[in-house]
């Protein structure tokens, strides 16, 4: 069950020609795929295209009606290899994943696919996780397109253009027998917009037909001598075919005046940013009119030599707007100009910064600088020769505003795992901890400060493999269930078993691919009507030969986890010590249980709602509990008491009663301030009887004691 349900939105996927579609970028992509007669879709979740996978999963009925097969692939490599179905058969296929990390994983399959070439259109929709909000290393997907010769589309970021790119991407792929990559930037994935829909189309050839009449073309298989042939074919046939398709179909666009002594060449994805800068300089409007000639590369690979040269020829200077580095496009244009003997000045990474996101501020200053240097007449006096703006008298807040990185959610079952790990390290000293990709990576931040490296999804244990040596301390590595099924079972566990790795491997099993939005994976425990789930991780690790395997089926048991960690780190037994720590992702659990609980209460069924609290007069305000928690619902508050200097712990109404506070207070012997209140709705007769009895007895005792001493009324400090 995914974090977000698109069950309502996907109904829009049924709309027909002429109707207007309104929604997010990723939903528009799905609609476009259906309009293009796609035969199958696969992919692996990850921001910013996680929701695309969720949309597809929620749209299974609609996909089924059209005969479209959808796979939730095991990894990006699996997804890319899925496109092999378009190699021999005229079936359109599309896969999607996060880039560049997903493309890294997929690159083996992609390179093979690109070598043999395709018959049916093959579209790879990459979610480019670059710039603000990105969770990965900052790189470009462009190099993958270049190295394997896959065409790269980077459409202007509005729904009409994105939908058009999907359509033309398939056609380009078929016209040039080459897979096509469609680059979706973070914000374009989530941009809310509209476009005129077309009718959905069934695939021309079904997968069943292909299976029943199999084809086999030796020339398409990557094996010598065909592989040498492929390299030649890429240059002699596929490249020219692509160039002429892009030119004839005018995939790239020109805006603004035909003449002018300067021009701007830009990646399609940069269009809105460039236009905003021009709007702010008074050189463009929101209707798309511009006083500066623009050459928009909706296709960033291959580049079309004569389109560019014609654009640049009679200009004094051309600015290339190409985000991130290396500046492949600028370098290619430089070579084109040089070879053609054209002396138009080419500018790009100066005035633009070599590295970093092209934010609104960067865009404005670089384009203004460029125009000031080469077309000052276009600029207003203020922009041409700006006076140094007076520094606004805004106080510096850098020492005031605390950083707020993402962290574990309220009630997260991973919090107690790292609380236990922190406690065991207090006993046994600090250890080397190899972390992994996933929610659990938040352990590296306060309050836990655990984890020294992250080498890639599912590669936590693999990244500790060098430390398989005799030492006084064992290496620790962490991996999530998502990474485990993605590749960690073989790259981490099998490798550790095979090499007799002596460290501790903690597998965080929260029943979902949680960090990407709660998609199901093989060890998910919920029923999934279209996937086979409930395959225990413990069985899998034992299956590859692991012997020392411990399973904790309730991660909130901090004491037990600490005991297991201690044993794993100190036992004489050799070989990998594998700890599987399982509890359901609290976000997903709440999403599932909260409505059920609400309706049970409404229906008059006996229901228990747990929540934690702090006795503020018992709490001394030392915040030791915070240093083992960091839960959003556990905060501090300043009491209205002149005797207290420091704020005390307080739990707000968002508490889900996960139990971490109580367990940690117990395991770390912190303090007795915490309590859990279980509120019973629709109590049974027995509940009521017992409650009455208890209140009668305790009430009598309380009155008895109060009669012998002073009591300060409520509101007392």
């Amino acid at each position: 069950m995914a974090e977000r349900s698109f069950a309502k939105e996907v109904e829009q996927l049924r709309i027909g020609a002429g109707e207007e579609f309104r929604g997010e970028g990723i939903l528009a992509v799905t609609k476009a795929l259906l309009e293009c007669g796609v035969g199958y879709v696969g992919g692996y979740q990850g921001a910013p295209i996680s929701h695309l996978m969720d949309v597809l999963a929620d749209a299974q009925d609609i996909l089924g009606e059209l005969g479209v097969h959808f796979e939730a692939s095991a990894s990006e490599a699996t997804a890319a290899a899925t496109l092999a179905a378009s190699m021999h058969y005229p079936i359109r296929g599309a896969v999607t994943f996060k880039s560049t990390v997903g493309t890294n994983v997929a690159s083996d399959a992609l390179a093979n696919l690109a070598s043999g070439g395709v018959n049916g259109g093959a579209l790879i929709i990459v979610g480019e996780d670059y710039g603000e909000g990105a969770s990965i290393m900052q790189e470009r997907s462009h190099a993958f397109a270049m190295k394997s010769q896959i065409w790269l589309l980077d459409p202007r970021p509005n729904l009409e253009m994105i939908v058009k790119a999907v359509r033309e991407g398939f056609e380009l792929s078929e016209a040039s027998n080459t897979p096509v990559m469609l680059e979706m930037r973070i914000r374009a994935c989530h941009v809310h917009g509209r476009f005129k829909a077309r009718d959905n189309v069934k695939p021309k050839m079904s997968l069943a037909e292909a299976l029943e009449t199999p084809k086999r073309d030796l020339n398409r298989i990557v094996l010598p001598p065909a592989s040498f042939l492929h390299e030649q074919e890429k240059i002699s046939k596929r490249w020219p075919a692509a160039v002429s398709f892009v030119k004839e179909r005018k995939l790239n666009e020109f805006f603004g005046p035909a003449d002018g002594n300067v021009g701007i060449v830009l990646q399609g994805g940069m269009y809105n940013g460039v236009m905003r800068a021009l709007q702010r300089l008074g050189l463009a409007d929101i209707r798309g009119n511009t006083d500066v000639p623009l050459y928009v590369l909706n296709v960033t690979y291959p580049l079309i030599d004569d389109e560019f040269l014609d654009f640049a020829r009679d200009k004094d200077a051309v600015l290339v707007v190409e985000e991130a580095q290396p500046n492949h496009i600028e370098q290619a244009f430089g070579a084109m100009l040089h070879k053609a003997g054209i002396d138009t000045l080419l500018r790009g990474k100066d005035p633009f910064p070599m590295a970093g996101e092209y934010t609104g501020a960067v865009m404005l200053s670089a384009i203004r600088d460029f125009l000031r240097d080469h077309a000052g007449g276009l600029l207003s006096d203020k922009d041409r020769a700006p006076n140094e703006p007076e520094a606004p008298l805004v106080p510096d807040l850098s020492k005031v505003v605390p950083p707020r990185p993402p962290g574990f959610c309220t009630g997260c079952p991973e919090r107690p795992i790292f609380a236990a790990m922190k406690l065991v390290q207090e006993e046994l000293g600090e250890h080397h901890v190899a972390a992994d990709i996933g929610c659990h990576l938040f352990s590296i931040m306060p309050p836990f400060n655990i984890g020294a490296s992250t080498m890639g999804y599912g590669l936590g244990p693999a990244s500790a493999s060098a430390f398989n040596v005799e030492a006084k301390k064992r290496p620790i590595s962490v991996m999530g269930d998502g990474g485990f099924w993605h590749n960690g079972l073989s790259s981490g566990i099998t490798n550790a078993v095979f090499n007799k790795h002596d460290g501790m491997i903690v597998i965080v099993d929260n029943y979902y691919s949680a960090a990407t939005g709660g998609q199901d994976i093989p060890s998910s425990r919920a029923k999934n009507r279209s996937r086979s789930t409930s395959h225990p991780i413990t069985d899998a690790v034992k299956g590859v030969g692991a012997k020392w395997v411990r399973h904790v089926d309730r991660t909130y048991d901090v004491g037990k986890l600490r005991e297991i960690f201690r044993e794993a780190l100190t036992t004489d037994e050799k070989g990998p010590k594998i700890v599987v720590a399982s509890s359901e992702c609290m976000l997903n659990r709440q999403r599932r249980e909260r409505p059920l609980l609400a309706s049970a209460i409404k229906e008059g069924k006996r229901s228990v709602k747990p929540r934690f609290g702090v006795d503020e007069d018992v709490c001394t305000g030392d915040h030791a509990c915070m240093r083992l928690s960091g839960c959003p619902s556990l905060s501090v508050k300043t009491l209205d008491d002149p005797l207290r200097d420091d704020p005390v712990a307080a739990i707000d109404e968002t508490c889900v009663g996960c139990g971490n506070c109580g367990e940690v207070a117990d395991a770390a012997v912190l303090c007795p301030s915490f309590y859990r209140a279980d509120v019973i709705h629709n109590p049974s007769g027995w509940d009521r009887f017992m409650a009455r009895l208890r209140t009668r007895v305790t009430g009598w005792l309380q009155r008895r004691r109060d009669a012998s001493r002073l009591t300060f009324s409520a509101g007392a400090a």
Binding site: E3, P406, G621, D666
Partner: protein, 526 residues
């Protein structure tokens, strides 16, 4: 926190964001989980409802709910848009008309990032705080100051409108996205009729009634702050607290209060009153008399050392920290507090328990042999504590987590019994230890005051470092000792008090006292 509403430019109140150009640019800064996505959807809806084209973007990178997030909306009149208008996908510094901040530090972040500028930006912020992890984990107080952000907001914005929108939402059974949406409507900065905002909420589906109430409260707080503020003033705490109990005890209590009036200067009385209440609540009126005796001695020393000119700070600080030291956190106190009727009433209120519900309360306790021995008569407790073998054996019996239900008769009785040990507390080992510690500390301060008044005040303040239970308590005591270990080096210096103050502050910065050790190293080189 009371409602506040401030405007840098009152004349701008009528100015719509459209005065400047055809596109309205609006950024929302929130903490993940605050419903930034919901309010973004609402804004898009209300814009479309009014015949405007709206484009919204966000960067929901990961599923987690705790990081700072930005949502961004651009709006343009449909007839001006002419098809699909070319709008930006992210906010630019100096180019934002409206900033909504769902939390005060996020308002600060918006200012830091340059999204709030005096020429155009209306900043609407909720004054409540959602604390970041690094604010919570500091052993002292790590809460960031909101005032500098409010000052910066006034300086940086064209209009700055604020109210505790989170409280308004909760009071109305809703969440901040609703009251913030109301605040946006109340600010009248968008050219949309107020009822169209409500139509948007009504079209939403779940929780409409609560959302509407919170929406209206938010709109009122921002649009008509004077009226809204007057509504909330009544919740200011007022009046003296009542004291109930047996006649004899009440008379004794009255006598103690009279002593405060008679024997102490006005400057120290409020703190003495608070301190007295704490120690009497901890033990009994007799203990309160002991407290005042100690304080009288402190006050006499204070007067003799020129305390008049110092505002009797030595007495005031002693009143505070001696009360805290005398009302130490022992098992008896915890058991007493946990079994009080007022406590169960408080929990029931907090948890919203009504007549139709039943509540169970589970405590999480982890006693160790140290705590048990502390409760014993000093001789017996000491006998065990000084015999490691015996102590370990007994610890094995005691030392484990006990999750006990205090709403059940059995465990209530157990805690009630322990709470009743109050009567023999003054003979306990813990009491002896605490009293000795208290006296050592006071004599150290008292020895200091003739030479350096300010330094003596800081010595008293060192007591702040001792708090928590078990290991945390031990760490606190160690910090206390480490800080005071600098006293011989500091004595005689003009800035001795400042240095000791700095050491206390450093000790409260991190758990293990690493900052403190660094500061101590510096002092050794003085």
């Amino acid at each position: 926190m009371a409602m506040t509403m401030t405007e840098t430019d009152p004349g701008a109140a009528a100015g719509l964001a459209t005065d400047r150009d055809e596109v309205i640019k609006l950024a929302i800064l929130a903490v993940g989980g605050q419903g930034g996505g919901v309010i973004t959807d609402w804004i898009v809806d209300v814009a479309e409802r009014n015949g405007w084209y709206a484009q919204a973007t966000s960067v929901p990178g990961v599923a987690q709910r705790t990081g700072a997030t930005i949502y961004y909306v651009e709006m343009v009149r449909e007839d001006e848009a002419g098809g699909t208008p070319v709008l930006a996908l992210m906010p630019s510094p100096g180019d934002v008309d409206i900033v909504l901040a769902a939390e005060m530090m996020e308002a600060g972040r918006a200012i830091q990032r340059g999204f709030v500028t005096p020429d155009r930006t209306t900043l609407i912020a909720s004054t409540d705080r959602t604390l970041a992890v690094i604010e919570k984990i500091v052993p002292g107080s790590g809460i960031a100051e909101s005032d500098p952000v409010a000052d910066a907001a006034l300086a940086a914005s064209r209009r700055f409108l604020s109210a505790d929108l989170d409280r308004l939402a909760k009071q109305n059974g809703s969440v901040i996205s609703a009251s913030l949406f109301g605040a946006l409507a109340g600010a009248r900065v968008l050219p949309f009729a107020p009822d169209t905002f409500e139509e948007t909420i009504k079209a939403g589906g779940r929780g409409i009634e609560a959302s509407l109430r919170a929406f209206r409260a938010g709109a009122e707080a921002i649009g008509n702050p004077a009226a809204a503020a007057s509504l909330t003033r009544s919740d200011v705490r007022s009046g003296d607290k009542g004291v109930v109990g047996p006649e004899k005890e009440r008379r004794a209590w009255g006598g103690l209060l009279e002593r405060i009036e008679r024997e102490f200067p006005a400057a120290a009385r409020p703190m003495l009153r608070a301190g007295l209440e704490k120690v009497v609540d901890f033990q009994d009126v007799g203990y309160g008399g002991e407290y005042l005796d100690r304080l009288k001695a402190q006050y006499d020393r204070d007067s003799a050392s020129g305390g008049v000119e110092k505002g009797f700070r030595f007495t005031v600080e002693s009143a505070k920290y001696v009360a805290n030291a005398m009302a130490y956190d022992d098992v008896v106190r915890v058991a007493d507090l946990k079994t009080r009727a007022s406590r169960f009433r408080r929990i029931e209120t907090q948890m919203g328990v009504g007549d139709r519900n039943v509540m169970h309360v589970t405590e999480f306790m982890h006693p160790r042999i140290e705590e048990v021995c502390g409760t014993m008569p000093a001789g017996l407790g000491n006998f065990i504590v000084t015999r490691p073998g015996l102590r370990r054996t007994l610890d094995r019996l005691v030392n484990r987590g006990r999750h006990v239900r205090t709403d059940t008769i059995r465990w209530f009785l157990a805690l009630y019994f322990v709470g009743g040990l109050r009567r023999i507390r003054r003979r306990s080992l813990r009491h002896r230890t605490e009293t000795a510690h208290l006296e050592d500390w006071l004599s150290l301060a008292n020895a200091t005051i003739p030479e350096d008044y300010d330094l003596a005040v800081e010595v008293i303040r060192c007591r702040r470092l001792i708090k928590g239970y078990s290991d945390t308590h031990a760490r606190g005591e160690s910090k206390f000792d480490r800080v005071l270990s600098a006293l011989p080096v500091l004595k005689g210096r003009d800035d001795a008090a400042e240095w000791l103050h700095r050491l206390i502050e450093a000790a409260l910065k991190d758990e293990k006292g690493e900052m403190l050790d660094g500061a101590l190293k510096t002092i050794r080189t003085l």
